[in-house]
Amino acid sequence: MDTGRKPGPKILTYVLLGFWAITTIYPFVWVLLNSFRKKGLIISDSFSLPLGEAFTWDNYLTAWERSDFKNAYLNSFLISGTVTVAVVILAGLAAYGLVRYRFPGRGLLYSLIMAGMMFPVFSTIIPVFRMEAVMGLAGTGNRWLSLLAVILPQIAGNLCFAIIILMGFIQSVPIELEESAYLDGCNVFQIYFHIIIPAAKSSFATVAIFAFLWSYNDLFTQSFFLRYPQERAITGLLNEISSQAGVNYGLMAASVVLVVIPVLIVYICLQKHIIKGLTAGAVKG
């Protein structure tokens, strides 16, 4: 992509990048190693390889006992998948409308969205819970209703962020493309689906990744709404590790690994789209 770069700065570049990469990889490796370590040794000796005596599958076995994995993963993916899809669709539409159209009240809506990003989840969760209980969604013990009870507020929670990000990226799509499509006879919806979305594909992928991630890792909302075993998500495992007796670090490490692996897979898959979007999104001429 660039020509005529001298080798010196390149080495420095790699050194800096490599250094940061080590700091981001190391904690995960550390957690992985400790998930195989006997519980008692974690506090006293957490930074060496758990070989021989120190190695154990116990933590994973305990985690297996504590929750029904198949179900928990299914619940997590149902929730996060639905939230992601809904957020991408709704936020895309709203962002497009806000960016391209000029209308009175536009500034107000924009400010409302900005404000909406600031709302801490703790302040809204109890009113939401009461509202959903009245609606018959929350606390019923019915698995599907409970999942829905989590999905809806999570969609709202992620919408503001998604709209802001997408607005920024849609803005930078050159309007010439849309104008030529319009002249060809496309209506606004066709422009949206055939021009905007492909052009901003990497931005949609970015928003999707974050929406999925935040929904997936949202321990607080999930633990508030999902109480019974058949509706619990996989992150509920993290909730189980602490008790009156303190933190069970071995179980924690195993739980983290189990919780993280699916997300990493999703990220690696979606990430390819960002790259595809890089080369496809470039506008020529």
Binding site: S44, R130, A133, G139, Y228, P229, Q230, E240, Q244, A245
Partner: protein, 418 residues
């Protein structure tokens, strides 16, 4: 011919429908929430008992149990407020339960006994918790005690004797000094996270076991003076350097680990901690249960304990004819003598016939021995405070010991919120 055949078919169909219906309403799904979840020591026992119940009655139990902490308590209360409470609830029986008791959301034992006279028949009525309205609502499971855990090995290395039931505060201070000089930490306690236990005992040391449950109503009454004196005792210990160096930033897990790994000598904790050491101690014989030093009118053989939780049946379940029987049966089975004997090792119970625990390990045996010498117990006075007052009081302990706030002010601030 065809008509009679048709009639026969209809009859058979109706009969099968009736029998299916009869079977259908036999299997009830009960929503149950207890604190026997997560890492709780009795979780396995609870799950076994639930399985036994399901097998014997054909009902299904929807188990929403979780670890007991402030968040869990808040969720339970919120559920009652929004109408999504469970059918059977195992919860605290003190001021924490007043919100839903006073709202009439749970059924009193009296009312249950009107229809099921044998309900909680194996319990001593006098030991079941009484709510503010004078009625009893919860059937107790196993209780708790709070006492002094000691690391015998550390004491030995310092040349200090294991405390006996006549341990005095002066002896304790002298021992702490010896231990400190030898390079160990005398007291394992995180003042920022768990000042609770030391609070109870220092308050009792400045009062008596009989008036321990008095809650100050005004800033100048006897109870308030007791509390301030107790806080000042803790402050004296802090200033003498008997708490860990990082007691104001350490977590409870850290300080317990200090004790577990042989760096600290004394730890006040409760019966639930025995399970922790059973799992995590390298050698159980290094530990023992002793006595918290006494001062003034309290002797070291007087401790904190009682029964603070119990099984409630909610009005929601009671009013549902299918669930009523299932719920009563559930509680009865889970508080039966046999089941409770698996939950209990050394704790207090309300059982008329007492529990019959089997196979005590050395630490449990030590606890049982100590219990045998306990002359009187009082409940924890902090349980009579509202959550707000409690949070405020314990949040201020760090301010009192560092001198930022006087003990009297801390007490006053807390009772203003009660």
């Amino acid at each position: 011919m065809k008509k009679s055949l048709a009639m026969l078919l209809v009859l058979v169909l109706m009969l099968s429908l009736v029998s299916v219906a009869a079977f259908a309403d036999k299997a009830v799904t009960l929503n149950v929430v207890t604190s026997y979840g997560g890492d709780d020591g009795n979780r396995k026992n609870f799950e076994n008992a639930v399985k036994a119940y399901e097998e014997s009655t054909g009902n299904k139990v929807n188990d929403g149990s979780a670890t007991s902490n402030e968040e869990w308590k808040a969720k339970v209360l919120t559920d009652f407020e929004t109408g999504s409470e469970p059918d059977v609830l195992f919860y605290f029986t003190n001021a924490d339960a007043e919100p839903f008791i006073s709202a009439g959301k749970v059924v009193s034992i009296e009312e249950i006994r009107a229809e099921y006279p044998d309900y909680a028949g194996n319990m001593k009525d006098s030991m079941m918790a009484v709510a503010a309205d004078g009625k009893q609502y919860a059937v107790p499971s196993s209780g708790y005690w709070e006492n002094m855990f000691v690391n015998k090995k550390v004491l030995e290395d310092c040349g200090v004797a294991v405390p006996g039931p006549d341990y005095t505060w002066e002896q304790f201070l002298a021992d702490c000094e010896t231990i400190k000089e030898a390079g160990y930490t005398p007291i394992a306690c995180s003042l920022v996270e768990v000042p609770h236990y030391w609070f109870e005992f220092t308050v009792m040391n400045n009062g008596t076991v009989e008036n321990h449950l008095d809650v100050p109503a005004a800033t100048d009454d006897a109870a308030a003076a007791k509390w301030a004196a107790g806080l000042n005792d803790i402050k004296a210990l802090y200033e003498a350097g008997y708490f860990p160096a990082n007691t104001l930033t350490a977590s409870d897990a850290e300080t317990v680990e200090l004790f577990n790994s042989g760096e600290a000598a004394f730890l006040i904790d409760g019966s639930w901690k025995v399970g922790y050491f059973t799992e995590n101690a390298e050698d159980l014989n290094d530990f023992a249960i002793a006595y918290v030093p006494g001062k003034g009118e309290r002797s070291a053989s007087e401790a904190i304990g009682g029964i603070s939780m119990g099984y409630f049946i909610t009005t929601k379940a009671w009013n549902d004819p299918d669930k009523r029987e299932a719920a009563v049966e559930f509680v009865s089975q889970l508080t039966s003598d046999e089941v409770l004997s698996t939950f209990v090792t050394t704790e207090v119970t309300a059982l008329v016939n007492g529990a019959k625990p089997e196979g005590l390990n050395p630490l449990q045996q030590s606890a049982a021995d100590a219990n045998a010498n306990i002359t009187a117990i009082a409940g924890a006075v902090q349980d009579s405070l509202t959550a707000e007052a409690r949070g405020d009081l314990f949040g201020n302990v760090q301010n009192v010991v560092t001198g930022k706030m006087s003990a009297e002010d801390a007490v006053a601030s807390a009772i203003a919120l009660n």
